[in-house]
Amino acid sequence: MPLLETVDLSKSFGGLRAISNLNINIEAGSIHGLIGPNGSGKSTFFNLVTGVYQPDPGSKIIFNGHDITKSASHDIGALGIARTFQLLRLFSEMTVLQNLMVGYHTHVPYGFMSTIFNNSAVVKKDAETKSEMMELLELIGMADYADMPASELSGGQRRLVALGRAMAMRPKLLMLDEPAAGLSPVNVDNLLSIVMALKQRFGLTVLIVEHILKVVMETCDTVTVLDYGEKIGEGSPDAVKDDHAVIEAYLGQEMDDDEVRKAFNS
């Protein structure tokens, strides 16, 4: 049974149909790629699944056996879906560690009332959470920055924090919206190894949107290709890479250095 399943998922903005009748199955334990030209609806898909946008009537989203089509964002998060944002949206006035602690929110083992009546247990549990989060930071290599406000990090560092914050949710499904955009090639490799390590360690299912093909090709088990909100291809990375429609809509021809130079000048 797929972990996430969408049935006839649609979303229009005014006259624009950003997603139309999309059926996607994401198998548990897999790394699933979602690619497509700019504006093809990938981020919209993320927003629909995580409840940021409400899908059009007739759509259905099922996660782990629950129908989450109409659920609120925070309930969806509690069910085990974590995501990053294309534009990150870190809590910029909070420290890196606090960002992660918010990610952990749904697993906080005490309620509001115990913060009033049973403060010592709260303090103890927070200390535990903190060390857990520090471990996670260690894992993504940001432990040194734990007490720094997120606003003072560079673009690349922020991406890692966003990843960490999503991981702090202890999700079943991790959805990454262009996690490698703007990273230097070396750091792209680093990021990939971090994601792979996290996946193995926590038994994650991962959905990646990425334009850096290397990421998709090297990590994904299955790739879905969108164009104008519709699925135009799906399969293993290699199969998709050679799919004519996909090349036409998204990849373009592969070229060696000289061909590229020539293309520049054409």
Partner: protein
Amino acid sequence: MLKVSGLSTGYGKLQILRGIDLNVAEGGIVTLLGGNGTGKSTFLKALSGLLPVWEGSIEFDGQKIQNLPPHEIVRCGLTQVTQGKDAYPAMTVEENLKLGAYVRKDKIAIAEDLERVYSFFPRLLERRTQLAATLSGGEVQMLVIGRGLMARPKLLMLDEPSAALAPKIIMDIFATINRIRKSGVSILMVEQNVRMALLLAEYGYIIRDGVILIKGDAKDLINDPNVKKSFLGGTVANSTHEIKA
């Protein structure tokens, strides 16, 4: 055309750049490469006047421009397209583009340039009356590059123009950049897509920890083993990522 020598700057008391020397020749195309957090965007901000220059000088077109207010630097012909994809969300695509030509007075030429931008990026033409807030990430990137062009700058600075773009479009963008260069605009480009950037550029600089580490002809750099290695120092985080699974 652009001559930067000994440039140092930073945020508050935190120094980021420590004496950068960099030149862009008239009609040339230069790329600045480096790991994350090494100070590339900071460098561009200093050139545009958004950050004060602590030390060193910036000479553009024979004129010293360090510490001029940003809008005057733009009038000198130096335009930057930022990394943040900052379009004006509450304005339409076309209004955004028109703003790019704010410093210009030649109405007819502006209209021509508008058509040109639309011909580079047909997607923008489809969405010309849409609010920029509703564009996809890649569309916004096209929009801000287009907007930069509208100023008809002498030197266009691009901060990661290909980030978050589909592969097919990246090709188009670089080709467009090349065309822009050919029309007489010099280009200074920060990139993470090292291969494409070095294929396009004539000259390259590699920055690390606020200093220029390597520089040279793009043709040489692309095959230089040190280039690859130097990226290892890029600090997404300080530690190297030996993951213990």
